[in-house]
């Protein structure tokens, strides 16, 4: 997910209908420049080289998201009429993380089976949590108030950090009890991608669980 603003203008994006390195491309209606989705960058056209700021997002079941955000608005285009509901992401699907010059990809099925994957992307310590029953995905920075945290699954959607023993809600990224109660983890932007596409864009990426 990206912020559509670039140097004072707000861009409107369409679907370019092309693949670049086997991944989706967009065009912006103002200049017709062609953008690559996994990197959020214009490849050709007037805005060539421009990069959009990525915005953290979550993947949740509706039940889970609704419980946390009862005031949410729900996109309703296409909600009337028959719908084929896909309950799970696909095979070869990775949770892609790009921070600075470094990149890492965590295999979704692996993360779902493990519940928690801790890794370092460049110099940044990251935790990826996937709810094994719902497929909910979270990615957080494992650093709070200059303290590096090492988590372990504590059951029932909870994580425990080994440094202080505080108990955290994995879905909210909030410490619920213990010495760090009330502290929040910073979400890390991540991208859903097929593993081969991620490898094309980030040839130096590490792959976990692939």
């Amino acid at each position: 997910m990206h912020d559509r603003r670039f140097e004072g203008r707000t861009l409107v994006f369409g679907n370019q209908g092309a693949l670049y390195k086997t991944a989706m491309t967009w065009f912006d209606h103002g200049t017709g420049s062609i953008w690559s989705q996994p990197i959020g960058r214009a490849l050709v056209g007037e805005l060539r080289g421009a990069t959009l700021t990525q915005i953290p997002s979550t993947l949740d079941t509706w039940e889970g998201f609704h419980a946390r955000h009862p005031d949410a608005l729900v996109l309703s285009n296409g909600l009337d009429g028959p719908r084929l509901i896909l309950a799970s992401p696909r095979e070869n699907w990775v949770i892609g993380l790009a921070l600075g010059d470094a990149a890492a990809a965590v295999d979704f099925s692996h993360a779902r089976a493990a519940a928690l994957v801790q890794l370092t992307v460049g110099n940044e310590p990251v935790a990826v949590w996937v709810d094994s029953t719902t497929g909910t995905v979270r990615a957080y920075l494992r650093r709070v108030a200059n303290r590096l945290l090492d988590f372990e699954p504590a059951g029932d959607g909870a994580l425990r950090d080994r440094e202080t023993g505080s108990l955290w809600s994995a879905a909210k990224g909030l410490a619920l009890s213990g010495p760090l109660a009330g502290q929040a983890l910073s979400p890390v932007p991540w991208t859903s991608a097929f593993d081969w596409a991620w490898r094309d864009f980030y040839p130096n990426s590490t792959f976990i669980g692939a």
Binding site: M1, D3, G17, S57, T61, W62, A72, G78, L79
Partner: protein
């Protein structure tokens, strides 16, 4: 996700044959460096015309309390400046892109 939808649509067109093949826009030839142009061309694969998979330019919303979603269906969630949005993955599979404004920030949601 986008790749699969694109693939299915491209297959559909291929089966229909070339007689009514859509006019496909080529990218603007504005890479002055021949090597860069070659690198771009080798990685670029135009499958459909622009917006053949129609993005959502004018999103509509319903309140969470009355949204007709199944409890176990997946949504992409965004929270910007305290404003929360849910985008059903089922919709994103068909439309792939949403131009929206959340919490005063213009956002692009893609899948």
């Amino acid at each position: 996700m986008a790749l699969v939808v694109l693939g299915v649509l491209a297959l559909g067109w291929a089966i229909r044959g070339s007689a009514d093949a859509p006019q496909i826009a080529r990218p603007p030839a504005d890479l002055p460096d021949p090597h860069e142009r070659m690198m771009f061309d080798s990685a670029y694969d135009q499958r459909l015309s622009r917006d053949a998979i129609p993005p959502i330019y004018q999103p509509h919303f319903v309140a969470a309390a009355v949204a007709p979603l199944q409890p176990d269906e997946l949504v992409i969630g965004l929270v910007v400046d305290g404003e929360a949005r849910a985008y059903p993955v089922t919709t994103l599979n068909r439309r792939e892109m949403v131009n929206d404004v959340v919490g005063g920030t213009p956002v692009l949601v893609t899948w």
